[in-house]
């Protein structure tokens, strides 16, 4: 492959950010800045569309490979390539970033230039994580993502933003440094950072368990899994809408992606050994956080907790170690990326108009905002897992694959679905139905821009729900390779 499409994907946003930062901020209006950001990210999205078009689904292994020596002496290489597992996530990223910029044109008034620059940097770092097939650059991008996110939450967040952003940064960093040690150890053993080579290497069983736990610490914080999830509600509540969207939509997937890409192929023995622990934690995550979500007064917090529950499905699916399970988990990741992003946008719409996120402050919204209620319903049902929407396919496959492991597991997972339905329906009912409050009356319905991006998201949800083969075609082969 001569055309360096992956490097181009990584570099385009960075170059865009550099150009923006060199332009003088006093002359540019906010709108111009956002528009230029939108042009760059839309171009990036179109560029990323080339990946599925030219990707050869019949071949094994990575494609579009680029290899450059970076540190000659230490055998650290810039080595990128994609396979079926990474392409959908790259598309999800490039798809969500323009939406993030679109939804903040009105809400971000101060320091707009910085905002767009941080988002562009964030985008290129995230893409970097998904395309890297060398452990060191994987870690580099994985870690670099923290910087723009730290600034986005810290500058444009809510009133308690400092606490949230510090918690987010330090939690994730503490997890990642353990992974760094494990990476260094692996590289010193295997003498290479190449992911494929490491997959073929067998470690001592005891050591493998420790290494697995080091990687687990990092990914479990990112996903987040049950005892490490407490940063997520804080970060979501305090982040601006666009921050929440990218956080729920893509950043949480980095952890799950790490499990599929690194943990499973590297540590086959340990993955089986720790299966019960991960199932237990995920079950607790699903049931406990669903119950917690049921009692939340803040809409964003409720959706944040529902994210933890949904990601519980993902980890269960991944660690069933079956093709169906991982397929389902992966589907759930993509679906959750679209749906939770949409739900945070939904919250953002009313927050922007009414400046409160308390559920009790809303009632009877459907009377004044019918279009809004319609889109809310689509995403709510998808989150619940109604057949025909994308939420259904993933949950169904995961639950089905758990039967082969244990019926109890199936039971708890299924309870999660019921609880999920109850809190989402409750949320929908409380906000949209009931008496019309007097201060709700002047709320305006969706603008054309909002309708535009909600329709895109809704279309994707339906498309994946009705024709899931679209995604499975892409991932099947790659996932079957990562199973033991």
């Amino acid at each position: 492959m001569s055309f360096p499409i992956l490097s181009l994907l990584i570099l385009t946003p960075i170059i865009g950010a550099l150009t923006l930062s060199l332009s003088s901020s006093t002359q540019l209006k906010n709108k111009t800045i956002f528009l230029s950001g939108l042009w760059i990210t839309t171009g990036e999205f179109l560029l990323s569309l080339l990946l599925p078009i030219f990707y050869d689904k019949s071949k094994n292994g990575y494609q579009f490979i680029e290899f450059h020596t970076w540190f000659d002496k230490f055998d650290i290489n810039y080595y990128v390539g994609v396979d079926g597992v990474s392409i959908p996530l790259i598309l999800l990223t490039t798809f969500l970033v323009p939406i993030c910029l679109l939804c903040s044109i009105n809400s971000i008034q101060n320091r707009a230039k910085e905002f767009v620059i941080y988002f562009l940097l964030l985008e290129s770092f995230i893409i970097g994580v998904f395309v890297s097939i060398d452990l060191v650059i994987f870690y580099v991008f994985f870690e670099a993502v923290l910087i723009p996110m730290f600034l986005i939450i810290g500058i444009w967040g809510g009133e308690n933003r400092l606490y949230a952003t510090f918690k987010f940064f330090l939690y994730t960093l503490a997890g990642s440094v353990l992974m760094l040690l494990a990476i260094i150890y692996i590289i010193s053993k295997v003498k290479s950072g190449n992911i494929e080579l490491i997959s073929d290497f067998t470690f001592d069983q005891q050591i493998e368990l420790v290494l697995f736990l080091c990687f687990f610490a990092s990914f479990a914080v990112k996903v987040p899994m049950f005892p490490f999830h407490t940063w997520l509600p804080d970060a979501h509540v305090q982040a601006p809408t666009s921050g929440s969207v990218i956080l729920a939509g893509v950043l949480l997937k980095l952890g799950a992606y790490g499990f599929i890409r690194l943990s499973l192929p590297f540590f086959e023995y340990a993955s089986i050994y720790f299966q019960p622990m991960i199932f237990a934690l995920s079950c607790v995550a699903i049931v406990y956080t669903s119950i917690v979500a049921l009692r939340q007064l803040d809409m964003k917090k409720m959706i944040a907790y529902s994210s933890v529950a949904h990601m519980g499905f993902v980890t269960i699916g991944i660690f069933t170690l079956t093709q169906d399970g991982i397929n389902g988990a992966y589907f759930q990741m993509i679906s959750h990326g679209i749906v939770s992003a949409a739900l945070f946008l939904i919250v953002g719409v009313v927050y922007e108009r009414h400046h409160t996120r308390m559920i009790s402050d809303y009632s009877g919204v459907t009377n004044v905002m019918p279009k809004y209620s319609f889109f809310f319903m689509v995403f709510m049902l998808s989150s619940v897992g109604l057949p025909g929407t994308s939420g259904f396919v993933g949950e169904f496959l995961v639950i089905m694959s758990t039967i082969s492991v244990s019926v109890y597991l199936t039971f708890f997972t299924a309870i999660g679905v019921i609880l999920g339905a109850s809190y989402m329906l409750l949320l929908y009912k409380n906000i949209n139905f009931g008496d019309l409050k007097s201060d709700i009356k002047q709320l305006a319905d969706l603008t054309n821009i909002e309708i535009f991006y909600f329709s895109c998201l809704a279309f994707l949800t339906m498309l994946l729900g009705i024709y899931p083969k679209l995604l499975f075609e892409m991932i099947n082969k790659s996932i079957s390779l990562s199973i033991i």
Binding site: D72, V136, Y139, E143, L162
Partner: protein, 462 residues
């Protein structure tokens, strides 16, 4: 017959000192520029002919390369420092040419220290360096805290010199030699003597638990002197510590090795523990430097793997970052004088783009977060230490760097999230600005394209 050829760098500095002494009486501006020129000449000389100077000696090639590389780094550092010092000294009404003399003497001492093969020469070098440093700490004679810093530094430094001499005399009593190379058959007495020598060196590089002077001296001294303490003399002492560790095979001596590991672990932890609660910028930097010394000691201990490159990479990146941070601090002034508290950095983002973004780069780099060169510096040290089996120390090191990230983030928070509170004076210090912007760029570029630095280090160690 003594071959003077190998002393050319030292003689060069000595003649610079003499010229400055005479010339400085008449025109201090010219004298200072002359020194910058002299150091440029010296670094070119070392870069091209450095190895030839030592070819007549019986030293191993590795040691010669070590000498040359460290001396090049020291002279380049001195160029930057001499270019930087004019404006800050003028601001404090301290602009006298004697200050440059102290620097020259300190650098001369550092040169002697680095290339000494003998404990007594090392002592002379160390004392020459330290005495200049005491004077630089107390250079602001009208300021009480500067005097306090000088006296504290002097009295504690004298104590540590006492340790050093006592240790050396114990080694001499036991082995009958001052040489670094001929110490093979150790008895308990030389071990005790060597441990005293190590303690004194730990004091000089401010490794915990011998760090007590660091925060006070950093805070009290004029900021420009603090920059000097934090960089070049420390670098020289660290190189000598590295040589002692290497030449005497301390890794084979169990008791001393144990001391080394303890000091490394304590430095890592005390550094971060002390820094968290600090409200004064220079005190925070003092404690953060203690944490970094912990990393460097880890690098010294695990030098077998991947040669000296890892240690030097770390040192160079650390020097550049420190120069950058202090260049920003020296460029920040309010009506009341220099910036003292961390809270004064509030809202720097709105006052100056270049300063705040450079600081962001420096602190993320110090915290070891990619995409900045500090990440690879830490990465290599950790690779080396894990390869050499210091797994427990590596875990302490990474955990300490997570805690360190907290206080670096606090500074970034103050600059980027808080509102501007103080009115900045426009200092218009062009050289300072050039230095911190250049450091910021280097830190970022070394991450993307590290080959020049790696090759430089590599070629000299071949």
């Amino acid at each position: 017959m003594i071959n003077l050829y190998q002393f050319i760098p030292e003689i060069f500095i000595l003649s610079l000192i003499l010229i400055t002494l005479c010339f400085g009486l008449f025109n201090k501006d010219r004298a200072i520029s002359l020194n910058a020129l002299g150091f440029i000449l010296l670094s070119i000389l070392l870069l091209n002919y450095g190895k030839d100077f030592y070819s007549s000696t019986q030293l191993s090639l590795n040691t010669i390369n070590l000498f040359v590389l460290s001396k090049i780094i020291l002279s380049i550092g001195s160029i930057v420092f001499i270019l930087l010092l004019k404006r800050p000294l003028k601001n404090e009404n301290l602009y006298r040419y004697e200050y440059v003399l102290f620097i020259l003497f300190a650098i001369l001492g550092s040169f002697v220290l680095i290339s000494s093969n003998n404990f007594l020469t090392a002592f002379i070098g160390l004392e020459l360096q330290s005495l200049s440093l005491y004077l630089m700490a107390a250079f602001n004679t009208k300021n009480l805290s500067s005097n306090e810093a000088g006296i504290k530094y002097f009295s504690l430094g004298a104590l540590s010199s006492g340790f050093l001499l006592f240790g050396i005399s114990m080694i001499y009593y036991d082995t009958g030699s001052f040489s670094l190379q001929n110490l093979d058959n150790f008895t308990a007495i030389s071990e005790i003597g060597l441990s005293l020598v190590l303690i004194s060196l730990f004091f000089k590089v401010s490794a915990a638990p011998f760090h007590i002077w660091t925060p006070d001296v950093y805070e009290g001294s004029p900021t420009i002197s603090t920059l000097f303490f934090a960089t070049l003399p420390k670098f020289a002492s660290l190189i000598f510590l590295f040589r002692v560790y290497q030449e005497l095979n301390i890794s084979d001596i169990k008791s001393l090795n144990y001391i080394f590991q303890m000091v490394c672990a304590i430095s890592l932890l005390v550094g971060v523990y002390g820094a968290i609660t600090q409200k004064v910028i220079k005190r925070l930097l003092a404690f953060s430097s203690i944490n970094h010394i912990g990393f460097m000691l880890l690098g010294i201990m695990s030098y077998q793997f991947m040669s000296e490159g890892t240690l030097f990479f770390y040192l160079i990146i650390y020097l550049i970052t420190t120069f950058g941070i202090f260049a920003v601090l020296l460029n920040l002034r309010t009506a009341n004088g220099e910036f003292i508290k961390i809270s004064q950095l509030n809202g720097l983002r709105f006052a100056s783009n270049s300063k705040s973004i450079s600081m962001l780069v420096f602190f993320f780099s110090l915290a070891g977060i990619p995409p900045f060169a500090g990440f690879f510096a830490k990465f290599f040290i950790l690779s080396a230490s894990i390869n050499d089996g210091f797994i427990f120390l590596s875990i302490i090191a990474v955990l300490s760097s997570v805690i360190a990230a907290f206080y670096y983030l606090t500074i970034i928070k103050n600059m980027f999230f808080n509102k501007l509170e103080i009115e900045l004076l426009d200092d218009n210090n062009k050289t300072g600005k050039v230095i911190f912007i250049a450091s910021g760029l280097i830190i970022t570029l070394f991450f993307i394209y590290p080959d020049p630095l790696i090759n430089l280090v590599d070629n000299l160690f071949k």
